[in-house]
Structures are given as C-alpha cells and as structure tokens.
C-alpha cells in the first residue's frame, strides 16, 4: 500500500492539510511510520507559519482509518509507537491557532484520535464509519482516545463508543449518532463539505456543554457488567479501557497519555491482541481471496431453484431474491407449507422493493425448475431423499448447477455439484461453507464463490467430509461437554467452562438455539464416520427427548479441567481435518469459527489460542 502523506496547502491564511495515501477510497488511508514522518514535516510548517487556523481532512470519501494493522502486529517496542502518536497529536493540540478536523469520510481509531486533538470537528452527514475498533482487537485507542473522548462527551457516551460498541460486532457510528453524542460540533452536507468547513474554521465559535461526570461510578459499573456478559474476563482490553475512561475525569492530558502508554505496553504484547491481529488478517484478507479459489469465470445466474420450503429453505430463498434480484422458484411436496413459505418470502423481500415479490413462485412438482441456472436443495437430511431430488432436477434442468445446504452429509454421494452450507439464522450469520468434492469443476466452484459474494456472505472453501468445519469442531467440543454431564457435572459448570474462554454464548443456550434434535442428528452422522472420536451420547439423547441428562459415570471435573479437555479435543479434531485436507490451513478453520460460530477474535478463532497455550502446534506460520 502506498505511504500516507500529510499534504499542506494554504487557503488564504488557513492551513489546509490533507491526509492522503494517493489511492482511491478502496484503500483507506492509514497512519504508519512514514505517515508520522510526513506529519512532523507539516507540523513544523504549521508551528512556524503565520496561520489563522488549520483544517485537517482526508482524500475523497475517507478521513483516516487509524493505525496500520500490519505495523501494529510488529511490536518490538510497544511504547515507542504510542509515544510517537502522543507527541505528534499533542503538537497538533498545542498549535497556537484553532484547528478543525473536517471529517469527510471514515474516521476510525487513530484517525478519530487525530480529530479529537483538534479544537473542533465538522462531519459530512453521509459518513457511516466513525468509531474506535481497538477494543475489538483487544487493545485500546491509546493515542489519546481514552482521554479526550470522555473529556469531551462524558464517561457514559465514551464507554459506549470505546468499549461497548466494539463488543457489539464492532458497531460503528453514523454521522447523526456521532453528532448527537457530541463527538463533532456540526454536521454539514457533503456537497460543499470542505468549503463550508473552511468557513466554519474562519468563524469558529463553539457552544459545548461540559460533560456530565456526576454518575461516573454507576455508569462504569454498568458498563463493566456488560463487558462481563460479553467476554467473561477473557480479555483485558475492555476493562482497561473503562479504567482509563474513569481516570480521564481527574488526569491532565499528560497523565492520561502516560496511563495509555502503560496500558498499551501491557496490551499490545498480550496473547489476546496478537490473536486478534491474526484473526483480523484471516477474516479481512485471507478469506476474501483464498488461495483455493480457482481462476475460472463464474457462470451467470439468471434463475434459481430452491428445493424445500422449510425454515432454512425459506430464509435462503428470501436471501437469493433480495441479493440477486432474479426469479426464484421453490418446490415442496406440502402445498400448505409451500404457500406459507411463499407468503413469508414475498412479505420480506418486498419491504424495500415491491417488485421483488413478483420474482418468487413455487409448486409441488418439478416443472418450475426448467431453465434454472442454479438449484439448491434444503430438504430433510436424508441421503436417499436428496439423491431423488437431484435426479429429478437433473431431468428438468440438465444444465443447472446443483447445490446442497446439507450440514453434514456427503455432497458427492448425494449427487450435488457443490455444497453451500448456510447457518441459521441466515440473515445474521455471515458464513457459508463452500463445499467442494473431487467432481466439483473450477467453473462450478467459481460460480458458488461468486454467488456467496453476491449474497453478501462470507465463503470459506472446505472439503467434502462429514460436518465440514463448523459442525465438526462444535460437535467434537459439545461431545466433551456431554461427557462431563454424563459424569455428574452440571450444565452451569459446562457453561462456565466455555464462557471463561470468552465465548459469546453459553453452550446450554446454544444447544437450545440449534435444537437438541438437530445436534443429535449431527452427532449420529459424525459417529458413523468417526466412531472413536464421536461416541454416541446418552446425555444428548435425553436432552433431545426433553429429559434431564442423567449421570452414568462419576468422573466429575472442575470447569478448568473441562475447558482443558475441550481445547485438547478441538486441537485433535483440527489436526485430523488438516491431515484429511478438509481445509488447507488452520486459518480456514479460524475463519469458519469466527464467521460461523462467533468465536472471538482474541482467541484468533481457536488455533492461535491453542498454539499460545501450548495445547497444539500446527506447524504453520500464521497467515
């Protein structure tokens, strides 16, 4: 990526500084070492010039998205980078004339911190990406963010922006929200944004309410308990950030900077931060263009068939209609179930674009599949049923690519060209496992990948083996927990074992969400393939039957011991998957677990944590 440069031009006696990496908006501007060197040069001109004011802004569509993640991972001297930021931004803050950050586009992390060091901020009202993602990466906004934001908008709003939003799938602020929180002083139309920001700088007159610190202890206590709910103490960063926000009430800015430096010196080298940097790379880079993706041109998809009208089929069909905007036809043997599905889909897809409802149709026969380019089945998980389905579809649509949403059966044996395994609820879960087998052509795989992309889902290419990746690992993990229940542990203890890892959801809650019968069915499939590692579970059967699981053994363990057993089992299963070639790299397992099971960044999915704790060594250099 091109180096970021601070570019100074005079607009009369106003210094106009552009933060620019010379690329278009698809490569957002970051702050790395070279950016700092260039900024120092500009600062000298600002400090020594006869300026009335300075305005900092970004290249079109981007303000600045903060520290360069690649340089973050390289932490030979964690204090040095933080200190350099404090020194630079501190000099901006100390300029003897008013400074305005004209936030014309995404302002994240260090970019937002730069803006906070200015006297005032203008914001284009179409900006949708304002925030501090640091805590989601198990670090803190340490270039003054934890200090200046609470000093500006108070502890409650600061805790929301710095700590709680990052833990909610890294939620960012839209312009209106940033303005309401008091982060910026004015919202401006984008059309003449910089011209009006210059005028704002010329006539700078601020009316700000001092922040409310009266309830600081209660506010932070509440925030801390929400952090507990999210990460269960498994990563330090959100807690440290709350302490720094509390400190901002009384500290001078220099005391605050010093506290940030201490905090970052600890956090940057922490296993959680290292794992997060790894997870970020896996999710944002590797899995967007995986090495396994063939070069072949994807086939044009002009009509889609969905076999089945159950819960998954309905959700998947709605997604296809909404994203591809092509005719989608369904088939179910049960007319009333079909009617219900059609009604649900039409209702959902027509919310924004009424014409989409007219694209959906269905029937109990097969004729409607004529002319389909792609047919996906989501019927009952039984191999013969699926075989019959594909035989019938081949007859009526011989050219169609046949896809299956099976969660554990063999894609090849049922006669599908490729698997597209969606996760429930389809609208919320980003992952789709793209399952290829020996007979999957490059064109088919390319089309499947491209379809997933157009559905705005995240694909990971996996091999055709029982349970693929997510269900295989989760079932293996779940088997360990069932074993604990069978040995007299309580569900509270197994929940504690998992939650202390920082899992977003207790396993007992997850089991109810997935449905114990479904989980049992998957376990049976896995058992058939790997009886040694996936023994059948009386406890799971009892739960599936609506009974209390009964203890049959007496090897009761502590939550810590259970957790260790879980991790060892996961490591063992991942090793088997790598040996079998289900995935080419541990990173693919991590991508699946992060995107499909909500595993936290700070575990690096799971393999980074397994390596950090010495439980496993996959012998691969992380991507």
């Amino acid at each position: 990526m091109a180096d970021t440069v601070f570019k100074l031009n005079a607009a009369g006696r106003i210094a106009l500084v552009t933060i620019d990496n010379g690329e278009d908006y698809r490569k957002p501007t970051t702050l790395g070492r070279s950016a700092f060197e260039s900024a120092v040069g500009v600062l000298e001109q600002l400090e020594n010039g006869d300026w009335e004011a300075a305005v900092f802004t970004g290249k079109p569509f981007v303000f600045c998205v903060g520290a360069d993640i690649d340089e973050l991972g390289n932490v030979q001297d964690p204090r040095e980078g933080i200190h350099a930021g404090h020194e630079l931004f501190g000099r901006i803050r100390a300029l003897p004339f008013p400074t305005v950050a004209a936030i014309n586009g995404a302002a994240l992390g260090g970019g937002l911190e730069l803006a906070l060091h200015c006297t005032a901020r203008t914001l284009a009202n179409n900006v949708r990406h304002i925030g501090f993602p640091e805590v989601a990466l198990s670090i803190i906004p340490g270039w003054g963010g934890t200090q200046l934001l609470p000093k500006l908008i108070g502890p409650e709003a600061a805790a929301k922006v710095i700590v709680l939003n990052p833990l909610r799938q890294n939620k960012l602020l839209k312009a209106e929200e940033a303005f309401e929180l008091g982060i910026v002083d004015t919202l401006l139309d984008p059309v003449e944004f910089l011209d009006e920001s210059l005028a704002f700088a010329r006539e700078l007159a601020l009316e700000r309410k001092p922040p409310d610190w009266s309830d600081v202890e209660a506010v932070l206590r509440k925030a801390r308990s929400r952090v507990d709910d999210a990460v269960h103490g498994a990563t330090r960063a959100p807690y440290v950030a709350l302490d720094l926000i509390a400190g901002a009430q009384h500290w001078t800015i220099d005391e605050g900077y010093a506290a940030e430096e201490d905090a970052m010196a600890e956090l940057l080298v922490s296993p959680q931060a290292q794992a997060s940097a790894y997870a970020f790379t896996v999710v944002e880079r590797r899995s967007k263009k995986p090495p396994a993706l063939p070069d072949a041109k994807p086939r044009r998809v002009g009509k889609v068939g969905i076999v089945g009208a159950g819960l998954m089929a309905t959700q998947i069909a709605a997604l296809f209609v909404k994203r591809l905007e092509v005719p989608v036809v369904l088939r179910d043997i049960d007319q009333s179930r079909l009617d219900e599905a059609l009604q649900t889909i039409r209702g959902e897809v027509s919310e924004r674009k009424p014409f989409l409802a007219t694209l959906v149709d269905g029937g109990t026969g097969w004729d409607q599949f004529a002319g389909c380019d792609l047919v996906l089945e989501a019927v009952f998980e039984q191999l013969d049923v699926k075989r019959e389905v594909f035989a019938a579809v081949r007859e009526i649509a011989p050219e169609a690519i046949l896809m299956t949403n099976t969660s554990s059966l063999s894609v090849e044996e049922m006669g599908a060209d490729v698997g597209l395994h969606f996760f429930n609820p389809v609208a919320l879960m980003p992952l789709v496992e793209v399952v290829r087998h020996g007979g999957t052509s490059d064109e088919v795989l390319s089309t499947a990948w491209d379809t997933v992309r157009r559905l705005r889902k995240r694909g990971v290419i996996v091999g055709d083996s029982p349970g693929f990746v997510v269900n295989r690992v989760l079932t293996r993990v779940s088997r360990v927990l069932m074993d604990a229940l069978e040995n007299g542990n309580t569900a509270e203890e197994t929940d504690e074992a998992m939650l202390a890892l920082g899992m977003p959801m207790a396993p007992s809650v997850l089991l109810q969400m997935v449905g114990p019968r479904v989980a049992l069915h998957v376990l049976e499939t896995m058992h058939a393939a790997y009886p040694d590692r996936f023994p059948l579970s009386p406890a799971l059967e009892q739960i599936a039957n609506g009974e209390e699981p009964a203890a049959t053994g007496d090897n009761r363990r502590t939550p810590e011991e259970i957790r260790r057993a879980v991790l060892e089992a996961a490591a063992d299963e991942i090793r088997h998957m790598l040996d079998e070639g289900v995935v080419g790299d541990p990173a693919d397992v991590d991508a699946c677990l992060i995107l499909g099971a909500g595993y936290p960044f700070f575990l690096g999915g799971i393999t980074k944590h397994l390596e950090q704790t010495g439980i496993a060594d996959f012998g691969k250099i992380p991507a």
Binding site: K7, L8, N9, A10, A11, G12, L16, V17, T18, D20, G22, T57, K59, P60, D189, V191, E192, L194, D195, L198
Partner: protein, 392 residues
C-alpha cells in the same frame, strides 16, 4: 400575438477558471461538480428566490459525454440539491452554450412557461478535448461544403488575419497585453469578488483552494509575446499569448420574469432587450459576432453609439479586432472588455456566456450606463449578440 413578458438577469456567478490538463487545478474535479458549485453559490447569494419556484435549469456543455453527459441541467439540479420537482435540460451551441441557455430560458420566461430559471454552462476541456467523439460527415469535404480549416478554431483565426491584413500580429499582441492588464486590475477591484466563487478542489498535492484564474499573467509584455511561436500554422500570427487557452470552468445565472421580480422583491441587474444569432462561413467563424451585433441593434432600434459597454469573448485577439474594425470601435476603447477577457481568464467554451453577462452587469453599474452588449463567436461559423439594459 400574445404579449411577451420582460426577462431580467438577476445574478450570475462563476468558478475561477483553470488550465485544462493534468497540471490544471480542476484535473481531478468533475465537470458537473463545477456546475453544482456555481449553482449552489448562486442559490446562496439569492436567498429570496424559493428553490421550488425555479421552473427550469438550462445548462450548456459542448462535449455532452462523460461527466458532462447526463442531461446537464437535470444532473446539476439534482446534485445541487434542488427539489426533484425542478426540471432541467442540456444545451449545446459550442462557445455560445451559456448564452443559448440564457436565451432559451428567457424564451420560457417570456412566454410565461416559467417565472424563474437557472441558466449556465460548464466545460472541462481537460477531460474533453475539442471535437471529442465528433465525426465529421465526409460530405463536408467531398462536396466542399466547408473549408477544412473550419474544423480547427486556431486556423479560422489565421484565416481572419489573411482576410484582414491590416490586423497584424502586433495589434493582436497589443490587445492581449491590454486584456491581461485590465484583468489584473479587475482582480484588485470588486468585479471578481462579486462574480467569482472560490472552491476547494482535490489534487495530487491534496485539497487546494481554487480562487484565481490560472491563465492570468499580469507580467505579460509585448516583447514576451513577440517571442512566442505561432501555434497553428508556420509563419502564422496566432500564438498562445494572443488567444485563450484550453480552460475548465463553470458559470450559472438566475433569470426571472417581470412581475416575479416584484413579487419576490428581487433586485435584478439587467433587462434583456433583444438577442440575435447569425451564421457566416464556417472557416471565418470569428466574423459571426459582426452580423449578430448589427442584427440585434436593428431589432431593438438602438444605435451602436447608444451602447455604453461591450463584453466580447476573446478566443483570439484577431477575432475581437475584426469586430472592432467592422463596427468602428477602437480596440482600446474603455467601453470594450473593461475587465479584460478570455485571453487573460480563459474560455471554457459553453460556460463563457454567463461570465460576459455578469461582468457586463457589474460594469454598467460601476461605470454607469444604460445599454450593454454581450457577443461571442461560435464554431462552424456563427455569432451571438445579446443586448441588455441596466436596471440598477
């Protein structure tokens, strides 16, 4: 015949003009965005006009492709934030684009179709080379319908030197020096402050403030101009110094009907008295303003001596001098282009007309005077002249 309503020029504004090409200030700015800036500044300066009263937006460009290609009047209206109910259209009469936008909108107003209109133009000659995507019909040459020199404006200027040997290169250069000097003085007094709006533009060097015409060369001397090589023909007389360079820029103006002016409490600057377009031989296109001027005066029944101010476009010094000689006006007459012209500020083809009118309005007010004329030559052998009356 039903009675036509009087049409008033309420206000006009332009962007600073830039040099076309990668080194020019607008290289990374879209043409329609320049138009949007001019329109929004116009709205800002005339808050008494409710935007929903704008009945039409006539916007001109010569190259109606790319960032000038989306039916500019509508494109600029939507991008400038005008209500969806305000329509717009695109105009092309090459260099007379903006003047044609003005007369077309004036026609709508005179007939009572609309009460208020925006008329303007833009040309980003850096993004659109002259003649871009134009295919000349081969019949022009095979049937000798036009002389082939008609296709290159510089050659038509050389043709004028040929036709009028009395107009020497020295006279052309002297006129160019005068244009630069008058424009330089104009940047010192209020005319540019009143008619030019600065704007920030993105460039390879970051955001910059565009606030000046990039062609302005206050230091221009006869000696320096004498050194310049002819640009179009060996031994020719037309140089980069005595002609307007390739330019990027936009203009916009408000026109309103009599009655509406009173209703909204507007203070218009000019009343449109009459306008005329004329055709001449395409390879002598610079002659166009001569018949157009004669025709508009005749139409209005006004003698040349009664006109107090002339704003003529200056694509080439020889073109202005031809008009001067034909009408008997001295080239250094203080009534002619008192603030300099396109030689000093540039000529973004379809945008220029509104610049002439805005400066004419300023000039008539500053210097006093009743009638003023804006005139302009047009490629393929045409001319335009509009006669205005000062109402301030």
């Amino acid at each position: 015949m039903r009675e036509a309503r009087d049409v008033f020029f309420v206000d006009g504004v332009r962007t600073p003009f830039g040099k076309a090409g990668p080194k020019g200030q607008y290289w990374r700015t879209r043409a329609d965005d320049l138009g949007v800036k001019a329109v929004r500044e116009l709205l800002r300066r005339n808050p008494q006009i409710p935007v929903e009263r704008i009945g039409d937006v006539a916007f001109a460009a010569t190259a109606q492709v790319g960032d000038q290609g989306l039916t500019l009047g509508r494109d600029v209206a939507l991008l400038a934030g005008l209500p969806e109910s305000v329509p717009g259209f695109a105009v092309d009469r090459m260099c007379a684009g903006a003047l044609t936008a003005v007369t077309a909108a004036a026609g709508e107003i005179a007939l009572g179709a609309v009460d208020v209109a925006i008329a303007g133009g833009v040309e980003h000659m850096g993004h659109h080379a002259m003649g871009e995507e134009v295919e000349f019909n081969p019949r022009y040459l095979s049937e000798r319908l036009i002389d082939e020199s008609a296709a290159v404006m510089g050659n038509t200027a050389e043709n004028l030197h040929d036709l009028f040997p009395a107009i020497t290169k020295e006279r052309a250069d002297a006129f160019a020096v005068q244009s630069q000097q008058r424009a330089t003085a104009a940047w010192e007094n209020g005319v540019m402050r009143e008619t030019v709006v600065p704007l920030t533009v993105f460039s390879d060097d970051g955001w910059k403030l565009a606030e000046r015409d990039e062609f302005l060369r206050p230091e221009t001397t006869m000696d320096a101009l004498a050194q310049l090589k002819p640009a179009f023909r060996p031994g020719g007389r037309v140089t980069a110094g005595n002609s307007a360079g390739l330019t990027d820029g936009a203009t916009a103006s408000f026109l309103a009907a009599e009655g509406t002016v009173e209703e909204l409490g507007l203070q218009p600057k000019l009343r449109l008295v009459a306008f005329a377009y004329a055709g001449v031989a395409p390879h002598l296109m610079g002659l166009g303003p001569v018949p157009a001027t004669k025709r508009v005066l005749e139409q209005a029944g006004i003698a040349l001596e009664d006109v107090d101010l002339f704003e003529l476009n200056e694509p080439f010094a020889v073109q202005v001098l031809t008009w001067c000689d034909e009408l008997g006006i001295s080239a250094d007459d203080p009534r002619l282009n008192p603030y300099g012209g396109a030689i000093a500020c540039g000529h973004p083809l379809a945008a220029t007309g509104v610049r002439l009118i805005s400066q004419l309005a300023y000039g008539l007010r500053e210097r006093g005077g009743r009638y003023g004329l804006t005139a302009l030559c047009i490629g393929m052998g045409m001319g335009c002249a509009i006669l205005w009356e000062n109402v301030r």
